[in-house]
Symmetry: D2
Subunit: 346 residues, 4 copies
Amino acid sequence: MIIVLKQGIKANEVKELAAKLESQGVTVSHFTDIKRDFLGLIGDTSGIDAHQLHAFSEVEQVIRVEDPYKRANRKFHPENSIIKIGDETIGGTKLGIIAGPCSVESEEQIVTIAKQLKQAGANFLRGGAFKPRTSPYSFQGLELEGLKMLQVAKAETGMPIVTELMSTKWVDQFVDSVDIIQIGARNMQNFDLLKEIGRTNTPVLLKRGLSATYKEWLMSAEYIMAGGNENVILCERGIRTFETETRNTLDIQAVPVIKELSHLPIIIDPSHAGGMSYLVEAGAKSGIVAGADGLMIEVHNDPANAWSDGEQCLTPDEFARLMEKARKLAEFEGRSIDEAATILTK
Amino acid sequence: MIIVLKQGIKANEVKELAAKLESQGVTVSHFTDIKRDFLGLIGDTSGIDAHQLHAFSEVEQVIRVEDPYKRANRKFHPENSIIKIGDETIGGTKLGIIAGPCSVESEEQIVTIAKQLKQAGANFLRGGAFKPRTSPYSFQGLELEGLKMLQVAKAETGMPIVTELMSTKWVDQFVDSVDIIQIGARNMQNFDLLKEIGRTNTPVLLKRGLSATYKEWLMSAEYIMAGGNENVILCERGIRTFETETRNTLDIQAVPVIKELSHLPIIIDPSHAGGMSYLVEAGAKSGIVAGADGLMIEVHNDPANAWSDGEQCLTPDEFARLMEKARKLAEFEGRSIDEAATILTK
Amino acid sequence: MIIVLKQGIKANEVKELAAKLESQGVTVSHFTDIKRDFLGLIGDTSGIDAHQLHAFSEVEQVIRVEDPYKRANRKFHPENSIIKIGDETIGGTKLGIIAGPCSVESEEQIVTIAKQLKQAGANFLRGGAFKPRTSPYSFQGLELEGLKMLQVAKAETGMPIVTELMSTKWVDQFVDSVDIIQIGARNMQNFDLLKEIGRTNTPVLLKRGLSATYKEWLMSAEYIMAGGNENVILCERGIRTFETETRNTLDIQAVPVIKELSHLPIIIDPSHAGGMSYLVEAGAKSGIVAGADGLMIEVHNDPANAWSDGEQCLTPDEFARLMEKARKLAEFEGRSIDEAATILTK
Amino acid sequence: MIIVLKQGIKANEVKELAAKLESQGVTVSHFTDIKRDFLGLIGDTSGIDAHQLHAFSEVEQVIRVEDPYKRANRKFHPENSIIKIGDETIGGTKLGIIAGPCSVESEEQIVTIAKQLKQAGANFLRGGAFKPRTSPYSFQGLELEGLKMLQVAKAETGMPIVTELMSTKWVDQFVDSVDIIQIGARNMQNFDLLKEIGRTNTPVLLKRGLSATYKEWLMSAEYIMAGGNENVILCERGIRTFETETRNTLDIQAVPVIKELSHLPIIIDPSHAGGMSYLVEAGAKSGIVAGADGLMIEVHNDPANAWSDGEQCLTPDEFARLMEKARKLAEFEGRSIDEAATILTK
């Protein structure tokens, strides 16, 4: 961290400020370029609030040279992290394909879709049991009943399940019954929830906030990791921009930038990004060639009658065709996607 | 709600779609302007997801004519709401002046500042006990200890206290010891927290999310009100824009627009908006002339050594001078601010 | 300018880079804080492209300590600039009140409105002759005919005229017939136009771009001033945000921040900011208490039949009532607005 | 266009408003859904300003059902447009690969790079002669000298040239000497320039504005086309978002959305989007799989000494390696890129 001091500052003022800063546990070196004085802070500056330093009247500018995140930082962990989820992994050569409906609607629905998805090559099942809805009058999810239905689908197909947690109240139930806990975009800075998840060992899918920067996103991952849970998977799901034709704007550059800054795996959710089914293919393929470690795709057997987000769902057939293309493209890029499988009905 | 159908749609398709929609509890009327067919939905459409309707292949565009919020809507509640907090109110002629440090740091600190604030004319005391910090390595607040210190300051000065709640875990403690529960910008769409607060009777200060629209903000108020708690005060605290010179951009138009759309009181927080103490005066005065029902201002006796947000704090003296100007301006606008008072030490 | 070098850089690499930089006309000093090497650039760095320096593989971060604008910078010109326009000024104690219709529609219209505006206390007349319209099929303005009509209105009332220039083609005509040349938001970075205006002496009203930062805006002022024309007045007219309820978001903090960074006068355009007539009063009053040097307000005698922007226009009566309030508020703030006048018809 | 009228409006008011609207050349049909009255406008509504209609006190909401662009609209031109540039085309099966330095620096530089680019498979040469720079003190381009150097490079390699026009002053020179005229992001709404270009026949590369929506972008294309020049190629070059780690955010969804809305070709500029050379590959490959009709890539023989934008340039070798991968990926997608060629020095 470098502090640029105001012009005309006196020597004793510099000394006093340096002493105050050293009392926060860092080493301070003082240098000058004739016109100005600078203080360089050496040591662990992650607890120092750059913004706060502006309250000192001597300070003109504060520049953070070190990244504020440590555990998520590739500098201190050069190898890619590979997250283990049961027998599956995310972050290695094989892409993690997470698919399923926006909401769990019934046991029959989720089991039927799960089988179709597995047949097409998906290796994780998603489905919302607790739903974050803008309106209190919209369907809020089947809640614990939905979790049970997901477990039935898992028992029938062997697919690990991914579902969103919105409340610290249900952490224990999620740890017991969910393979990957999803933190939604609107809760990316629900620090209380992040801390609670950090105390568990369950893998976490951390969606990027609607207007979050990469650094804020990595700081939210850091919250989880600081608690001891290093099993974090990042998910780019589109950001808010001025464009109204699409639901969100897919930030494909997030993939190479996050790969540069961090060792954590990153996947792409083209369904929420575009918000319309005809945009899913372009988003999914872009994710693969940009180097993403997986995809999260909404699939519903009857989109027009889905209880939420139907307009962005693929049908199982559309999903199967997309997987064929995606599989070839992944191979082209030196990655892989599970083969289309045959599931025997019990 | 009006649904524009795609051109070339057949009569039986229109009928089928209308029937599906009527099954959701609304009345559907069909009309045409030669080139196109339209469906008008009459009745309570607040539970219908406009986005979802796009999943029907017949639908080209959906236009919500009715507002999606009801309890927060001025149309159904033309009079301004006045929120009662002990002997004080927010929403009437007198402005609510909430002041205090970003964080509660010690009993002595908060009691001393509280007395100075009351003397200057503030009628509510703020101070963070639980702090939402971007970094897990930054100071997170004194938590329950901080709440106790706030209560001591209240006992000494009689000022009702306002402090931020970040977790459903502490709802009971807050209901017992806090006069206004603050929901921070990052939790504006933490729906689980909003629902829990909705089950209490404690007044709520709902800050606008960093990138939230007015409608999203009102829908978050609606979440609280739908639970039965209609004591919601809105707080504009600046939104995220491309500008980096200021912490956030104060959206002063929020005041007249919210007054048009809703009957809820709205206050302005110029401290978080600008993020620098020299911007507080312009923001506070703009709030008053734009018609805000109050101000929320950060004050610290020693900003440079504040544990958080020092750069945007006023000193008690600066605050007292600002109150003098604000009081005259409020009178000019036909409003009022409490007179500067003398506090006797017990 | 400070350059942070990558860790592990060798001494001779530092020297080489320093030599290259010195060849660009600055002095380079080298310092280190044990872990890292830094280069400080002293001298006139305004021509050095910070972005470009990243192309050197040794460079990790570049921090501009000096502002990139010089002539617009308050540091080198501590006194407020007062721009002279005929017998009027903008930037002094008296506020500049610019009012008029969006578009000049006919001689009768503009003369009639001009008289009403002058009677209400406006001291500048605005009216668009060349109109920037999003659609090529919308009304594009009366062009040179419109300029002539503005001159008639000036002859009848004595009010200096303000109108938008969109093309270098008409610079001479504007210099001859216009008192303040307006550069619209969409042309804020039309550098060719800025350069041409910089070669004239005519005062310029430079509107802020739809998504421009303060620094970009000041750099556009710098373009004009670098050509020798220092008569620049800045105009905040709202920026684009995610909010769709209002046309733009009025950034009231622009006033105190620009006053801190620059000596140039700044005025507020509440009509374009909100885009609706009911928002004009709050915006105008906020501008006055925030310290703006003037207001720009759209007024039309028949808003519903205006050829453009009718929804944000005040009627002459509404304008006159607003001026009464604004005059008192200006006095409250130690500023002034011209008295309501009586105009004798020739 | 549908107009929702305010509740409680009287029959004669509806009639009067309908009559006014019909006077603007459209047919108006009136319908009601019990609670409300609506007016449907049939005919060519492209010249009607939806915003303006709000000035009528009877109007509550205006919904544009028809797109405001006609010539750029796929509905009226279902086949993809293929733009001819000499012997080359953009918009067909073969991708247009435009490459070259940010600025033309010398004849030797541009000729050398041009040969290297052609050898690697590029089929268009770019190079800035007139440069839009944020600072008036930065290098502004070699101007007409630069144009001549580009022509020498064209003569030596046969590559058509693409370069940016910033001023109506140089339209004739550009028409005479340039194969594709580029309109930069900052001039996307320089309507005067768009109109002038619309009067020529020279193909135009229209970059998306920094914060422009798809519709605004298409309306700018419409300006050019309305003048008679239908040879418009759109170029997505990244939009401004809150992210500061990258120069801009590449909006890859622009490709499928523009393909849906318009028949015009669209290419991707990954160099300006990310602003860093390591992001070019991911952006370029995403563009290809998303269906773009070409790429625009900055290449410089010595990026660290480039006169502008060096940090985002590839070296000729890096470009050649990228072309190899891009060629295979294009084939995978059923498209093609020119083979690497051998150029004989004259």
